[in-house]
């Protein structure tokens, strides 16, 4: 504990440091304070975890979680090796048959081992992207229409307010049944669980983008609209030259909120729809109920958080790229 107080002192009293360290001091709190926060969190977690005994054993502390993270990476590489060996054997077999019989057309069978943690991360990312994309394609144009036309907004607003607070778990049974009924094909391109999860994500992603786009578009400076009128811009030029550039910041605020919500919703949707992503991983580990399950779930929790954070930063990067106002503070 005395060590931590020392670090805190370094951060808060510049006089104790020579001018030589002035620059270090300035950036030090930005680096040190988060580290202190993290260390405190780990210490509290470790302390509290020891006192909780569940039916699946002691609640995992940081050490067990770290261990399980290593184990998951190990399982992943082991699975990859197996897959490579599988394809190699197949390849060798096919070549042998081709040598015997030149008319033989080789067939490649897919490796059907269980998906690893990283496969599941990938599935989750793919599912959330598709759901988010569908939602954005619907929500941005609708938001623009609502922002441009007061009548459209008045007509649609009650629906927005009605559906916005609905939990994804309420949508899911409906979406599942509808997908089962409508998405019938002998050779489906996507699995039903994937479609169900993606559509549920879309339904919950729509609203922040729609609302923020509508607000952004309706808040365009009236002088700029007058400029457009004086220039007699065509509706299309008005949209591309005036409306879109000036509402880009708000559109992106909406998109970022939507993606955050989509990522949260996805985990719940995957649990129930059994889409082989992180949500299913958590659910399977819970049902599995081994002594390592809780630690493995904790790894998933941290991964979900980290990916959510990265997704948000990614959107921020895109926003910086697209937005004309490079000086605006984006956070």
């Amino acid at each position: 504990m005395s060590k931590t107080t020392n670090i805190l002192n370094l951060g808060t009293s510049p006089s104790s440091l020579g001018g030589m360290f002035g620059k270090v001091y300035q950036s030090a709190p930005a680096i040190l304070l988060p580290i202190i926060g993290l260390l405190l969190f780990l210490a509290v977690w470790n302390g509290v975890a020891k006192t909780i005994d569940t039916s699946l054993g002691q609640f995992p502390g940081p050490a067990q979680v770290f261990e399980q993270a290593g184990a998951l990476i190990g399982e992943h590489s082991a699975q990859r090796e197996k897959a490579e060996a599988f394809y190699e054997r197949q390849h060798a077999r096919n070549e042998a048959r081709m040598a015997q019989d030149p008319t033989y057309v080789p067939r490649i069978r897919e490796f059907t081992g269980a998906p690893t943690f990283f496969d599941q991360i990938w599935t989750s990312l793919y599912t959330v992207s598709v759901g988010f994309l569908i939602a954005s394609i619907v929500a941005v144009p609708m938001g623009i229409i609502c922002g441009l036309s007061k009548s459209a907004y008045t007509a649609i607003n009650p629906l927005i307010q009605l559906f916005k607070p609905v939990s994804p778990l309420a949508w899911l049974p409906l979406v599942t049944m509808v997908v089962s009924a409508l998405y019938v094909s002998d050779d489906p391109m996507f699995s039903k669980s994937f479609v169900t999860s993606a559509v549920t994500v879309s339904l919950c992603c729509l609203w922040p983008t729609l609302i923020n786009t509508a607000v952004g578009v309706s808040a365009i400076d009236s002088d700029l609209i007058n400029v457009s009128k004086v220039l007699r811009l065509t509706p299309m030029s008005h949209l591309t030259k005036i409306v879109l550039p000036s509402s880009i910041p708000m559109i992106f605020t909406g998109l970022r909120l939507s993606l955050g919500i989509g990522w949260m919703v996805l985990i719940a949707a995957e649990m129930l729809a059994q889409n082989p992503g992180l949500g299913k991983f958590v659910w399977d580990e819970f049902q599995n109920g081994s002594s390592e399950s809780l630690a493995r779930i904790m790894v998933a929790v941290l991964t979900i958080g980290a990916i959510g954070f990265v997704l948000d930063r990614l959107m921020l990067l895109i926003q910086r790229k697209v937005s004309w106002d490079k000086n605006s503070v984006l956070r």
Partner: protein, 250 residues
């Protein structure tokens, strides 16, 4: 008497409010010659901007109407270019692109080279060719207003409408821009209608000063002819006693 270039006849406007219509203007009658520089002056909220917006076509008069070269004004258009009080440049376009947008959309059938030349010519008029690629946020308020004027001039308007164009600027910048505007007006001979709060400015720039009385139901109070010879110079005018009296009154 021949018909005038721009004519406002019995113009009045009501705005709907929850308590019934509010009459902002009534019986505004004004005839303006080609090439004339007219200032509209009056207290805040007396409806000066409303008059300008009606001429621009941004507001529709409830009674009466505006006739420009024999045709009634109903919608906004580039032949009545507006210079807005707070410049209203598109903040995501560079100085050049802001003017180019106006040229591209108001002068169809020009080649790329002609467009470029015309944009540069108009930015030359307001002495802004040194900042072509700057964004509006990167230049000063006076420069933004210059670009706003260049954009309006680039539309080759029959009437240039200016809504307190120099209101938000410091005194020195304002004086510079007034000089520039006088130069441009002398060169191009546009018809200009300008709203201002500044009596000095009105006297320096205008051929006629239209004074509006207070609303509601505002109308034109008095029209003053400014018969000072052109070209005018602010320093010489400052020595004329009658002008300085006007100055101290306000």
């Amino acid at each position: 008497m021949q018909s005038k270039h721009l004519e406002l006849a019995q113009v009045g406007i009501d705005f709907p409010t929850p308590k019934g219509p509010f009459t902002a203007l009534t019986d505004v009658n004004l005839k303006i010659d080609k090439g004339e520089f007219v200032s509209l002056i009056g207290h805040s909220g007396c409806g000066k901007s409303t008059v300008l917006n009606i001429i621009a076509g941004l507001h529709q008069a409830t009674t009466g109407g505006v006739i420009l070269d024999g045709a009634e004004v109903r919608t906004p258009g580039p032949e009545r270019a507006v210079v807005f009080q707070n410049h209203s440049l598109l903040p995501w376009l560079s100085v050049y692109k802001n003017v180019e947008l106006a040229v591209k959309h108001t002068m169809r059938g020009k080649s790329k080279k002609e467009i470029r030349e015309w944009v540069l010519h108009n930015l030359e008029l307001v002495h802004m060719t040194h900042a072509l690629d700057k964004l509006p946020s990167e230049i000063s308020g006076g420069m933004k207003q210059r670009v706003g004027i260049a954009r309006a001039l680039a539309m080759e308007p029959k009437v240039l409408l200016m809504d307190e164009p120099f209101g938000a600027l410091d005194a020195l910048t304002r004086a510079h821009l007034q000089d520039s505007l006088m130069e441009i007006h002398a060169d191009l001979g546009n018809t200009v209608i300008m709203i201002t709060h500044d009596v000095d400015e009105a006297v320096l720039l205008s051929d006629r000063i239209v004074m509006m009385n207070n609303g509601p139901a505002a109308t034109i109070g008095e029209i003053l002819n400014v018969e000072l010879p052109r070209p005018r110079h602010r320093l010489e005018l400052a020595d004329i006693p009658t002008i300085t009296i006007t100055d101290t009154k306000c």
